[in-house]
Symmetry: C2
Subunit: 508 residues, 2 copies
């Protein structure tokens, strides 16, 4: 039964089918939907909307917290429902539509979307669709496994559809801390001074009259697909752990380090796992997505508290949500505006660990664009964290595609994090500490410590040629993307691995 999760009986009459609720969404509307890194997205209504679009075309601007699970972005995208999408996605099907120019994708820092909505610079939100574990007496919405942008969507929307997901444990209630910054020009400091700080309410305090429909579902979140740590990710974790140990010895950090942020994905997850066998203790996290490693760190006794905006687990760790009481007193889920807020990140002095798609000789990082043109997922929260962290770390394996791509290139083809925002670059070969160095000093260090040996000569030769032309940041503009061109033309950045066929084609 679900009625015990809708505390105000006047709302019981609002319970409708997903198909019926989806009728509230009209062509041209802007829809704000819950969901952050595959956690806590509305599930039934968007599926019904995609179904409806088969016979009744409807196109919307879809704004979420971050990426969605349950193939929703693909399904909605392929059904032609998504015309414009922000601020993040991670779906291969939608990615194709974006890169083909069929969906307009607005890639944004995750902390900024709701600022723009509140000030009317984007939007307005016509309909909010929010997954909930319960609706309280006065219509207050208790979110599920993510908060994302749901609170602001619900507060701003003309109409709210609540997806009451009875598959989620009711024990999620109490986990959330919903704080919305006060209105400018009267905005007060955000009262978060540690990962543990509770600043707001354990629910979203909406106007009950704007709850237009309630849809009951029990569909689970999608699991995260996290690769197991391998030799490469373990080496990356080892270099970073060793470096942090050195910082402790220097007196710059204590054994509890500083609150940790880790981006989503296998490398960052492996790096966090690396702390389990370290000498550090009493660690804390102030991050956006809490992954498997967060709970393994709790179980190891190394982690004291974790603040995030979502809980995204692999199949193997899904029982965490069944045993939530075990962790609940050490967890907070916040709006992504707060988990990623520059004010709080700078105040707490985070160690921010994010993944680079490619980095260049001078420390600029591309997080988003394959070959400078094709979107992978989006910048996500990496910019919120890297700009404001105490220590901004970017991790990547030194090569991809069996060595045919070097992750370190002369010049990145797209810049998400400029040289000013990158303190450390770490690959399985080692770590480059760029703090306080000029660009000319960074390049040899990155080549020596981070580049795969097979690529060192190529990059050293480029740097030598560039030095002849001078400058603060030496480059040979005509050759800056020569490795990308080689990969495009021959299937490999490294001439030795060029594919004979492609080679011939170029020669001809």
């Amino acid at each position: 039964m679900y009625l015990d999760r809708i505390k105000n009986p006047s709302l019981w009459a609002k319970v409708v089918s997903a198909e019926s609720a989806a009728q509230l969404i009209k062509d041209g509307m802007t829809v704000g939907m819950s969901g952050f890194t595959r956690a806590g997205e509305a599930k039934a209504v968007p599926m019904a909307l995609a179904e409806r679009a088969r016979h009744d075309p409807v196109g919307i601007t879809l704004i979420t917290g971050a990426s969605l699970g349950n193939d929703l972005d693909r399904t909605l995208g392929e059904a032609g429902v998504i015309k414009r999408r922000m601020p993040f996605q991670a779906d291969p099907g939608l990615r194709k539509l974006i890169n083909d120019g069929k969906v307009m994708f607005v890639d944004q820092h995750l902390s900024e979307t709701v600022e723009m909505l509140r000030s009317g610079q984007i939007g307005p939100i016509d309909v909010a669709i929010v997954e909930a574990v319960a609706i309280k007496e006065n219509g207050e919405i208790v979110p599920t496994t993510s908060v994302g942008n749901s609170a602001t969507f619900a507060l701003l929307a003309n109409k709210i559809i609540v997806e009451l997901n009875i598959g989620h444990s009711a024990s999620l209630e109490g986990l959330h801390d919903i704080y919305i910054p006060t209105r400018r020009p009267y905005r007060e400091p955000i009262p978060v001074t540690s990962p543990q700080s509770r600043a707001g309410l354990p629910f979203i305090p909406v106007d009950i009259s704007r709850i237009a429909a309630i849809v009951i579902t029990d569909r689970p979140d999608s699991c995260a697909s996290v690769s197991d740590p391998d030799e490469g990710t373990a080496a990356i974790a080892g270099h970073l752990t060793e470096f942090l140990g050195y910082e402790v010895n220097k007196g710059r950090l204590g054994l509890s380090l500083a609150p940790l942020q880790a981006g989503i994905g296998s490398i960052a997850n492996a790096v966090m796992h690396g702390f389990i066998d370290s000498r550090f203790n009493n660690l804390s996290m102030y991050s956006e997505v809490l992954q498997d490693s967060t709970f393994d760190l709790f179980d190891s006794g190394k982690l004291t508290f974790a603040s995030g905006s979502s809980i995204t687990l692999s199949q193997a760790k899904m029982d965490v949500l069944k045993n939530l009481e075990r962790y609940k007193s050490r967890l907070i889920l916040r709006p992504q505006e707060i988990s990623n807020h520059p004010e709080v990140i700078r105040r707490l002095g985070l160690i921010a660990i994010n993944t680079a798609l490619e980095a260049d000789l001078y420390g600029n990082v591309n997080s988003t664009h394959v070959s400078g043109t094709h979107m992978m997922n989006g910048v996500g929260g990496s910019g919120d964290f890297a700009r404001n962290a105490y220590l901004s770390v970017f991790v990547t394996k030194s090569m991809a595609k069996d060595g045919r791509i070097s992750s370190i290139v002369p010049m990145v083809t797209h810049v998400d994090h400029c040289e000013h925002d990158v303190d450390l670059i770490v690959t399985e070969h080692g770590l480059a500490d760029l703090r306080g160095l000029a660009p000319r000093e960074r390049a040899p260090l990155i080549i020596e410590n981070c580049v795969d040996p097979s690529y060192r000569a190529l990059l050293s030769d480029y740097f030598k040629d560039a030095l002849k032309l001078g400058g603060q940041t030496p480059h040979v503009l005509d050759k800056a993307f020569f490795m990308h061109a080689a990969y495009r033309d021959s299937g490999s950045m490294l001439p030795q691995l060029a594919k004979p066929k492609a080679k011939a084609a170029v020669a001809a």
Copy 2:
């Protein structure tokens, strides 16, 4: 007489010559020196140091607030004193040494340098040299026309040299608000909730025993060299004023707009002047450098309050400092960490107006590197403001070098402000409002509204070719810098303006 400006008689014996004070600086030291945008830098000691270096070579790391006046960066650079320099400079002589690789220049966001110093990631500061208007009973230092990083330098330094500049009016006392964020992990919110907020002390509260020397000087600050508004800058100001009027009509802003930040230079200064004849009123500024336009806006009755980190005036406006009492109740000078703090900038919701060196079709901005390699001045505070502002505006004339350079290019050669951080681009031709647009939508808008007509075909053709290759951010990597290459090879990005000689040289 100067003794009345040194309130504690025990300090009188510390008064020495500049030459003698300069002896405190040893080879290899890190020196923190006052000075921000040609205002309030120490003057006598660095000149004595440069003189000494003629017969007694000495090399230092020089950290300042921002740029220095009185040709100090050139003089110290050419004397071989500066080995490493951060976080900003704007001197043609030092620029050459930097681009020749003779001085290691670490270009930093202006709010971040003291964070790195406090946490021991750079430094330590061996000697601080701070210009003062007075030293109070317990050794408290009253700065002059800038605060910059002086407070943290003085608080962290092993030894402090005070340059007591009796040429500055004693009425500067009371203008400053010295607030230093509390120590992590116990850091409290910064108590600045409006441009008017006073959070700290009107002096730098140093340990009197660390004042090692006092040098008396009366050398004035250098004047700013601001070009008069011309047709182009007036047009830029007009477009921005019109746009803001539209935002007011839409209800997104009131007639007092939001606190304004304006970067240094003629274009930003002209834009601020544009507000004098606008319908806006009760304006306020939360900026880093307060230029001529600030005081003209006060005089016009449009401006109610201005917060900055320095006052930098042209020769024509120098009398402002003689009549400071007229403005003093409406002014605050803060440490650059606070004037540029992400926390405060985001809280106040600034309209940030900064100058682009070049911008590209997708809204990425280069503020620093000519042709992607040669440093102009540095990123300064533009990154602190652009990332965190309510509205991030970049202004530039559409062309430079008599039309031989287009300020809008297919791809910028260096990225200081990524596409996520740029809301508006304004040239004399018009304004592109990029908010909520995907890259493919931004390009035609920028071409139509901002590019000079003579360059529109070149850029449209590039965009069309790029679209054929697809992607979120279409590019033809092999041609991305073709306009820069044309300028290098023929002296013009526009073929029609190519210099015949250079053309011939390339042909041969």
